[in-house]
Amino acid sequence: MNEAEINLIDENGLRVDGRRLDELRPIKMEVGVLDKADGSAYIEQGKNRIIAAVYGPREAHPKHIALADRAVIKCRYHMAPFSVEERKSPAPSRRELELSKVTREALEASVMSEVYPRTSIDIFIEILQSDGGSRCAGITAASLALADAGVPLKEIVAACAVCKIDGKIALDPSDIEDKQGDADLPIAFMSKAGTITLLQMDGSLTEDEFNQALDMGIAACRKINDLQVEALKRKYISVKEQAEERHESQEATA
């Protein structure tokens, strides 16, 4: 190793950014941030800054990819050149191609695609700033964007990663924990159905460590799902409240 490896957990059991092992980074979500897209969402998780957008259901292009009995899902996970420390070429890397596939599969499991045969539902995830766990935050945002677009879903998918640092299982790795940790386990989960739609792992875990990590990840996904539903409703409730407020104030002056 080259750069000085730092202690990822200090003597108080706290991580580099002061979190406990089972603590999520601060998360902020906003729905309906783009004008032209049918649905969109923005997420900040730690230093991750990600926008997801959905177009569709719309006509499938090219026509031959359309499926007779359901909608085709297209998904693009892409990192902006300025999203990482060293500028990244805008051309899709092998990693982005793989992540586009697993992200699509994670989201497709929730889409009721038989409702719109012969159409295409297109999902775009742009990582504006990457800080560990970006594919999970991307899925969290993209699922919100699907709901915002009015795409019929079994439920909203939440995602979160778990890592192993200094021999301990820890939730929601930041960039440095991702790079210097001993295992990375991204998970996407449907809380109502209780099923996993994305599961990947690299590193080294014993069976027990894996079970512990899986539990931690699933619990976090449930929490994130609550935040997602709240963010989705907030967009419509705020319009409702503003409108009704104006109405009441006008009634009062009448």
């Binding site: 049918d38 719309r58 006509e59 009721m112 012969r118 879903l153 319009v239 409108a243």
Partner: protein, 228 residues
Amino acid sequence: MTIFAEKKQLVAPGEVLAEGSYFPGENTYREGNKVYASRIGLAELVANKLMVVPLKGCYVPRVDDFVIGRVVDMAMSGWTVDISSPYPALLPLSETPASRGMAARKDLTRIFNIGDLVMAEVIAFDRTRDPLLTVRGRGLGKVSSGRVVHISPAKIPRLIGRKGSMISLLKKATGCDIIVGQNGTVLVSGRQPKNEQVAAAAMYMIEREAHTRGLTDRVSELMNKELR
């Protein structure tokens, strides 16, 4: 049998609406003993049927719908019309008034050209093929004038209002002719651009606030304010 959601409550995909032998209507689905919402919208219970009135969604054609679309392509025997739906519509030559006659058959552009706006009716649509349109009928055909407003098709019922109350309000207040396509495309023609403008503004307000209370009053206020 238990209901978890209140009438007109805002629900998100995956939220439990009820438990028990309710019928899962539009934008809901049943899994085991529970009925869940599948789209963001307002929960409704009609008799034994649970449904969600969606706040967003694309236009899926229904037979007999009146639509306003734009001609985007021409083929041998008809035109492709964009009706703001994931399903492009076909308007065959045979579905234009017979009076057009033989000359038209040689040059389709004499009837409709690419870019023309047409008022049509959906005569066929199912899961296996694209919607079929007709312009044979009263009030159907090429649009010659007016201002086009696009709003979400999910909000069209609110724009029309109960027994047409909302749309009548707009027509009366602005003095405009307003033709509403089920596909979210609306045609407004008034004597003055200002009236058309106000009508459009009202429609966007309805689109934004369709799920709120007191909307009719706020629309009236807007009309009064702008058109005094």
